[in-house]
C-alpha cells in the first residue's frame, strides 16, 4: 500500500494549493468579466440545466395547482371585489399617462429614468451552497443581456446581473453578502429619503436600507423603490416595505430594515430590465464593448 503522502500526489496537492491562492486572487479582482473557458463551461452546463429545470418546474407547478384548487373559491370572492376598484384605477391611470405624454412632449424630454425594455428569462440554477445568493438564467449576451441590469419579478426587484456569458447569465440577489452589492434606493413616505440597499441583516434576515439622512422622517410601512440615480437601474421598481428604523453605529445616518416585496427563495421566471436612459459614466464603456 502507498504511504499516505507519496511524492507524486503530494506535488499534485501542492500545485493545487498554489492554484487555489492564484485563482482566489484572480477572481476577487474588481471589474472582472468572465474569461472564455468559464463562459464555455457555463453555457454548456446551462443547456443541461435548462433540460433538467423545465420538467421540474412543470411537476412543481402542477403540485402547487392541486393545493391551489382548495383556495379558489375564497380567492375568487376577494378578487371580484378588487376588480371593480381596478377598473376605476385603470381609467384614471390612462388619463394620467396621456397627460404625462403630452407634458413630456411639450418639454421635449427624450428618455426618462423609468424607461426600459424587458427580456424574459427562466431560472435554471441556484448555487446549492448557500454561501452566496446567486441564480442562473437561460439568457446571455446573445439575447442582449449585459452586466448590472436589474432583475425583477412581478412583485418587485430581486437582484442584478453579475456575470454574463454567451447564452447564460448569473444574477446576484439583493440578499447576497458582498461589499459591491449596493443599489441606490429611495423611500416614499412623509419625506422622500435616498439611500443604498446594502445586503442583508444577518440577525433578522431583512434587507438593509442605509445612509438615510438623519433629519428625514422614515417610518414603518414606507415603500422602498429604486431611485434610478445609480446610473444602472430604471427608477420606480419596488424593493420592499420598511419594518423598522434605527440610527447607524456612529449615529450619523439612519438604517432601515426592509422586508423584500419579491420572495427570493422560490424563483422560477424573472424579467431582466434594460434601462434606456444613458447612465452616468459607463456610457463610453458600453460603446467600446459593442464594437
Amino acid at each position: 500500500m502507498n504511504p499516505f503522502f507519496s511524492n507524486r500526489r503530494l506535488i499534485v496537492l501542492l500545485v493545487c494549493l498554489i492554484f487555489l491562492v492564484g485563482l482566489i486572487g484572480y477572481s476577487l479582482s474588481e471589474q472582472r468579466t468572465l474569461s472564455w473557458p468559464e463562459q464555455f463551461v457555463q453555457d454548456s452546463v446551462g443547456v443541461v440545466q435548462s433540460a433538467f429545470s423545465r420538467p421540474a418546474y412543470w411537476v412543481s407547478s402542477s403540485l402547487d395547482a392541486v393545493g391551489d384548487i382548495r383556495d379558489v373559491y375564497r380567492e375568487n370572492q376577494v378578487l371580484k371585489a378588487q376588480l371593480e376598484e381596478h377598473a376605476s384605477v385603470l381609467v384614471e391611470r390612462n388619463q394620467l399617462e396621456e397627460r404625462n405624454a403630452e407634458l413630456e412632449e411639450a418639454l421635449e424630454l427624450e428618455s426618462d429614468l423609468s424607461d426600459y425594455t424587458s427580456h424574459h428569462a427562466m431560472v435554471i440554477q441556484r448555487s446549492p451552497d448557500r454561501w452566496n445568493e446567486r441564480i442562473g438564467l437561460n439568457v446571455g449576451a446573445q439575447d442582449g443581456i449585459s452586466e448590472d441590469m436589474a432583475v425583477v419579478t412581478s412583485a418587485g426587484l430581486v437582484g442584478k446581473i453579475r456575470e454574463v456569458s454567451q447564452f447564460t447569465s448569473t444574477v446576484q440577489l439583493l440578499s447576497d453578502q458582498d461589499a459591491a452589492n449596493r443599489i441606490s434606493a429611495r423611500s416614499d413616505g412623509e419625506d422622500t429619503a435616498f439611500g443604498f440597499m446594502e445586503g442583508i441583516d444577518e440577525e433578522s434576515g431583512y434587507l438593509r436600507f442605509t445612509k438615510i439622512d438623519m433629519e428625514l422622517e422614515v417610518e414603518e410601512g414606507d415603500i422602498v423603490s429604486t431611485s434610478g440615480l445609480g446610473g444602472i437601474f430604471p427608477s420606480g421598481i419596488t424593493i420592499g416595505e420598511i419594518v423598522s428604523v434605527q440610527s447607524d453605529e456612529y449615529g450619523l445616518s439612519q438604517t432601515a430594515l426592509v422586508e423584500p416585496a419579491a420572495a427570493s427563495h422560490q424563483l422560477d421566471y424573472v424579467t431582466v430590465l434594460d434601462r434606456e436612459a444613458p447612465g452616468g459614466d459607463d456610457n463610453s464603456e458600453e460603446e467600446e464593448e459593442e464594437e
Binding site: C16, L23, I24, Q42, F52, P128, N132, Q177
Partner: protein, 172 residues
C-alpha cells in the same frame, strides 16, 4: 458504456443539486433550517474508496472546478476543497470496505470536513459574517443529519454496483 457511467452519474448529481433539488426545496421553512446537498461528494468519496485514491482525487478536482465555475463566486475554493477531501477520505482499507457502518461514517466525515472548510474559507474571504452558534442549528446540524441519512441509504447499492458492474470493466 459502463466506463462513462460513473462520470455521467456524478455529473447528473452535480446538475440536480443546483436545479431540481433547488426547485423542490425552496419552501417557507427556509428561515428556521435548511440543508446543503452533498450527494456528488458522496459518490466521489465512494469512488476514491473502491477504485483507489487517485481516481477520487481526479474526480474531486475535476468536479470541484466545475462547481466553482458554475455555482461558486470565487474560483478555486471547491477545486482545492473537494480534491483535498477526496484525497483524505479515500480510505481503501478492507475494514472500511467491508462494513457499511464504517463507509457511512467516512462519508459523513468528508461532508463535515468540507462544510467546515467552506465555512472557514467564506469567513476568511468576508463572504459571510455569521457566527458559528447561529449557523450550527439552522445550517450545519440539518446538513449533517440529512446527508448522513442519505449516505446510510446509498452505501449498500453503490458498493454492490462498484463490486459487480464496475469491477468487470476496471479489472482488465
Amino acid at each position: 458504456m459502463s466506463r462513462l457511467l460513473l462520470p455521467l452519474t456524478i455529473f447528473i448529481l452535480f446538475i440536480i443539486e443546483g436545479t431540481v433539488f433547488q426547485i423542490f426545496s425552496g419552501s417557507s421553512h427556509q428561515d428556521t433550517w435548511y440543508f446543503i446537498p452533498y450527494f456528488m461528494l458522496m459518490l466521489v468519496i465512494l469512488t476514491g474508496i473502491f477504485r483507489g485514491r487517485s481516481h477520487g482525487l481526479f474526480y474531486g478536482i475535476f468536479f470541484g472546478l466545475l462547481y466553482d465555475i458554475v455555482y461558486g463566486s470565487v474560483l478555486g475554493i471547491y477545486t482545492f476543497g473537494m480534491g483535498l477531501t477526496a484525497y483524505i477520505f479515500s480510505i481503501s482499507a478492507a475494514s472500511v470496505k467491508r462494513s457499511l457502518r464504517m463507509l457511512t461514517v467516512v462519508i459523513l466525515g468528508a461532508v463535515i470536513a468540507l462544510e467546515y472548510y467552506l465555512y472557514g474559507m467564506m469567513s476568511l474571504l468576508g463572504m459571510t459574517g455569521e457566527g458559528h452558534g447561529g449557523l450550527f442549528l439552522t445550517r450545519f446540524l440539518p446538513t449533517f443529519i440529512i446527508n448522513g441519512i442519505v449516505a446510510a441509504l446509498i452505501v449498500s447499492p453503490v458498493r454492490y454496483w462498484f463490486y459487480t458492474v464496475d469491477g468487470r470493466d476496471d479489472g482488465r
